[in-house]
Structure formats: structure tokens, C-alpha cells
Amino acid sequence: MNFSFTSEQLAFAAAVREVLRDRCDPADRVSCWKELTELGFFAALAPEEAGGLGLSLIDVVPALEETGRAAMPGPVVETLVAAPYAPQGVTRVSLLVEGVALDADLADLVVDVTGPSAVPVRPEPRRALDPGRQPYGVTVAGEPERLPGSAEALLRRATVGTAAQLVGVARQLLARSVEYARTRTQFGRPIGAFQAVKHQLADVAIAVEFAAPLVHRAALSVDEQDAPRPDRDVSAAKAAAGEAASLAARTALQVHGAIGYTGELDLRFWLARTWSLGAAYGTSAEHRIRVREAVFGA
């Protein structure tokens, strides 16, 4: 029993963080793609014989949190989790869920998660919750090609990976809110000296602190062959991470006031990311229902 990340896991995350720091442009949906590819990030889960790092999901969870922290846009989780299924040389993958594929325009492979199968598609842009995650309604435009592996595992990994990103987004929203509260002055004091602001930010810290271990457990459950209840663990993780991120976003906006709402700051990229990731692969509300049904029966 050792529920702490190994130094390798943390070092991989630190390398990702180093790449993204000051360089990741949340407005550019292929920002830092090349750099992370060179790091082996997107092939991390692919077997070594297929040119990957042969890692488990838990190994890349801290690195995924970093991509969330940086608000790295584009199909990050999708490309990562689809790598074990995808032909070598694929740059970006979009997952097709219920007729909608995020960032399908950037992908050289669209994977229908119900197969999994590779599908040639004609994408039609839809209005986005988040400029960094562009949804497309797709029409299948050719014969789907069955991919190896389990659809269930693919979707579970995408969900947990998204939850890990949400934890990172929440951490960054908290850090930025704290920074703003330390410097913004009203009534002659930094607003962070007001107890109402302190307590709101403390509540965000608590929410993130206790959501993260659920995400870590879910990654372990997905990795393990005989985990007793992987779906319940995945849903608990996605629900808690989504709620923590949502609280972090609302609090960030409240602490920043009107300026957080605008193009004056780039806070809006992190806010929007909580909406797009929160909605992807099942909302928190939906996953809460799944947990309840797992506990009590449907």
C-alpha cells in the first residue's frame, strides 16, 4: 500500500509542466503539441513495441493534471488514451460520442467509442462551450474500421483522464484567484484579507484536495484487471473532479469580479475549460446518478 505518486510519475509530470509553462497558448488548439509529442506524452500508454512508453493511466495522471493546469486546448486526453488503439503515426485523435466529436477538425483519426472503430467523417461545427474544445456534429462518411481493444476501457480512460485535467484546471483557478486576492485592493485592504474571500477559497482548496484522491483511485481501478468496481470509481472521480472545478470556476469569477468575465484577462480559458471538460463523457450530475445506481441498484 503506497498511495503516493512515485518519483518517476512526478518527474514525468514535471517535464510536461516545464514544456507547458509560459509556452502553452490556451487560444491555440495545437499549442505545444509537437513538444509534448517529443516528450513521448501522447504515446505514453501505447506498448513499447508500438513505439510507446508502455505506461499505465495512473503513471500519467499527474502529467494530465498539468495539461489541465495549463489549460492546454485540443484533444489531449483523447489522443493520449486512444494511442494503444491507434495506428502508429497518428498525431491527434477525436472521440465520437453520441454523434459529437470534439476537435474533429484537428484529428487525423476519429474513433467511434462504441466500437471502438475508426470512422471517416464529415464534421459540422457546433457552437462551443469552450473555444479550446471545438465540438463537431459528424456524419459518418465511409465504412468504420474496427480497432483492437475494449470500448469500455477506452471510455473509462477518457473519463478519468478528463477528471485528472479538471483537477489541474481547478488547481490553477485556485492559484490565480489567490494571487488576485493578494494584490487586488478594495476598502484599503487586499480583498484576500476579507474573511468571506478567505473562506470561499478555503472551500475550493478542500474540494480539490478531496477530489484528487478519487481520481487517483479511479485510474488505479481502470488499470487493474480485477478491480472490484471500476465504473463506480470512474463515476465518483468524474463527479467529484467536475464539482470541484465548477466550484473553483464560480469562486474565481466571484473573486475576480467583472474583470474575470472578460477578455481583459485570460481567466476565461480556464473557466470555459471547466464547462467543456465538465460536460464531456458525462456531467457530474450524470455520474452522481451512476454512483447512486451502483450503490443502490438502478
Binding site: P135, Q186, T262, G263, A279, A280, T283
Partner: protein
């Protein structure tokens, strides 16, 4: 105590409902685009033609001297009909009550009628970069010159200002903090307006830059130096009845219930709770119209802004990734600002604690 509407009130409700059913346009473009702004102005001119733009105002300014209860009835019908949000709301709900109380007859004659028809659209110019929650910290100045004043400084988060024709705000003419502020009306023609993009990319706000803009004496509302007192009357309107009538939230709650019709009981539970809360706000308002609103408007502001946020957050939960393609997403973005504008909810809770409950400052 009763909840029975008089025959006259019922007749008024029927008239409003019928007119709206016949005239409400299908969804207009966002009022924070040039095209949408003009479409909203045109709609409000039609409302004014039917004398439904400002029902509670006196006839001479375009109203019909409706009672508060009738105004609430109008609002219920207005929002239930799916009619567009009011592009002139900062003028008719925030400035107008102040004009009625503090304006000279010639100021009233010059501005109210045009405002009611959305010929003029007024933007509110309260906040400054260093004066948000702490409004008394504002530093924009009005300097006395022959026949008028020169305005200097910067105002920000001015809703609608990107396309509006006029503005109103406080400028320092002497003193510090709450003292020596003057309430000034101005045309936006001579003001440098820098639009600010909101979360959805549209310029819902603007920054106003005053570099010695001249306004004549006739544009000062009330006495110079009395601006804080006058403005507090306006912000009390903003928090209270006029900006956010119960009809608006009740209509949202009813739509939310429709949206949750086939949802899981846990989500229906949240929707039913919102409906009851919207009804509570409506009943509370009916109880309040008779008396002095006073500091209870702060309770209302916290209650409706958090209800509105809860309703839209539930809609986002119900809709999932498709939410962006519905008006619920626009409503959600707007509802996120509810706990911030018109005095943050933190400020409101301080007011409730100190002025209603009597806790020490």
C-alpha cells in the same frame, strides 16, 4: 391577507398577455451586437407604441400609471411570453427612478419619453478600475467651468455602453470617499468608448475614457456634491424590485421544469426546489410592495442571483455538451455575473448583517 387579483388587475393581465402573444418576436440576436442592439431597440419602440414599455410611469412620459401590483403582473406576462430582455433596462429601471425623484421637470421631459421608446439608450457608469465593490473609492473628476463641467477619468464595466447613446455616473467634484461626489448625465458622443469582450466574445461592457469631456450644467442631477445620496437611491433600485422582477425567475423556473420533465428524480428534485424558490420570491415581492423595501432588497438580491445561478447550472447539467446550442448557455453566462453586479453578494451579506440584523461593523 389574500392573493386574489381584482377584476381590473385580471383585465390588465389579459390585455398584456394577448398583446404579447400577438407581437413577441422570435429570438433576437444578442443585444451586445450592433445588429441585436438595433433589433432590441425596434422591439422596445413597438412596446412603447402599445404603452407597454414603462407601464408604471405617468402617462405624460409614456406610461399608464400602473400600480406596483400591475407592474408585477406585466413583468410576469412579459417573461412568460418569452419576450426579449430589455436593452433599455439600465435607463428605465435604474436611472428613471432617480430622475423622477431628483430630476428637474425639464430633465424629465428631455429624457424620460425618449428612454421609454429606446430612442436613447442609457449606460450605467459606476465602476472604475480601482473602485468596484468599494464604490466610494472612485476618482473620476468633474471640474467646474463656465456653464458646465469637464469630465476626467475612467469608468469601466459599463453595461451596454458599446452601443448606447447616453451614460450616467458619479464624478468627484470635491472631498473624499462618499463626500463631494456629483451625479452627472452625459452623452456618449464625446466619450472615448473601448468595448470589452465578455466570456462569449460580445462587447457587453465598455470602458469609458473621459479626457475633459464638457457637459452643460443642465446635465447634473440634483445638487452638486449630493451624488452619493442620489446614487444610493439608484443602487437600491438595482438590487431590488425594478431590475429583477419575480416574473423573470418564475418564467425561467417553469422552463426548467419543462426541461427536466424526463430527468432523474435527483435532478427533478433540484428543479422543483427552484420552482418553489421562484414562487417564494414572487410571494415575498407581493408582500413587500406595500411596505418600505429598505435593506430587505439586499436579501432579495442574494436570493434571486443565487437562484438564477442554480437554475442555469441545473440546465447545464441537464443538457450536457449540447447546452452551448441553447439559450440556456447564454443565460448561464449571464447568471454567473448575478452575484457580482449591483453590489457583490459579499457586500449584500455585510449590509444584511449590519443594517438588518444590527451586527457590529
Amino acid at each position: 391577507m389574500d392573493l386574489d387579483f381584482t377584476p381590473a388587475e385580471q383585465a390588465f393581465r389579459a390585455e398584456v398577455r394577448d398583446w404579447l402573444a400577438a407581437h413577441v418576436p422570435s429570438r433576437l440576436p444578442s443585444m451586445d451586437t450592433r445588429e441585436g442592439f438595433e433589433a432590441h431597440r425596434a422591439w422596445e419602440a413597438r412596446l412603447a407604441d402599445a404603452r407597454l414599455s414603462v407601464v408604471s410611469w405617468p402617462e405624460e412620459h409614456g406610461g399608464r400609471s400602473a400600480s406596483p401590483i400591475e407592474w408585477l403582473i406585466f413583468e410576469e406576462e412579459y417573461w412568460a411570453s418569452g419576450a426579449p430582455a430589455r436593452v433599455s433596462q439600465n435607463g428605465i429601471f435604474l436611472l428613471a427612478p432617480t430622475l423622477f425623484t431628483f430630476g428637474t421637470p425639464s430633465q424629465q421631459a428631455a429624457f424620460l419619453g425618449r428612454m421609454a421608446r429606446a430612442e436613447d439608450v442609457w449606460a450605467q457608469a459606476w465602476s472604475e478600475p480601482e473602485a468596484g465593490s468599494d464604490l466610494a473609492a472612485l476618482s473620476s473628476r468633474a471640474v467646474k467651468v463656465e456653464g458646465g463641467w469637464l469630465l476626467h477619468g475612467r469608468k469601466t464595466w459599463s453595461s451596454r455602453a458599446a452601443f448606447a447613446s447616453h451614460g450616467f455616473g458619479l464624478f468627484r467634484t470635491s472631498g473624499s470617499r462618499h463626500h463631494g461626489l456629483t451625479y452627472v448625465l452625459f452623452s456618449l458622443e464625446d466619450v472615448a468608448v473601448r468595448p470589452i469582450a465578455q466570456l462569449d466574445g460580445t462587447p457587453g461592457f465598455a470602458e469609458l475614457l473621459f479626457d475633459g469631456v464638457f457637459v452643460p450644467d443642465a446635465m447634473v442631477l440634483g445638487e452638486p456634491g449630493q451624488g452619493w445620496k442620489i446614487a444610493m437611491a439608484t443602487t437600491s433600485s438595482e438590487r431590488g424590485l425594478t431590475l429583477r422582477s419575480p416574473g423573470r425567475f418564475l418564467a425561467t423556473a417553469e422552463r426548467l421544469v419543462a426541461l427536466a420533465r424526463t430527468a432523474d428524480p435527483a435532478l427533478q428534485d433540484r428543479a422543483a426546489r427552484c420552482l418553489v424558490d421562484a414562487e417564494a420570491y414572487r410571494l415575498h415581492t407581493f408582500g413587500a410592495v406595500k411596505g418600505e423595501l429598505g435593506a430587505t432588497t439586499s436579501m432579495g438580491k442574494v436570493f434571486w442571483s443565487e437562484l438564477d445561478l442554480r437554475m442555469h447550472a441545473l440546465a447545464m447539467d441537464l443538457l450536457g455538451p449540447c447546452a452551448a446550442e441553447t439559450p440556456w448557455f447564454d443565460g448561464y453566462l449571464f447568471s454567473l455575473a448575478g452575484p457580482i453586479y449591483a453590489g457583490t453578494n459579499e457586500i449584500q451579506r455585510n449590509i444584511i448583517a449590519e443594517r438588518v440584523l444590527g451586527l457590529p461593523r
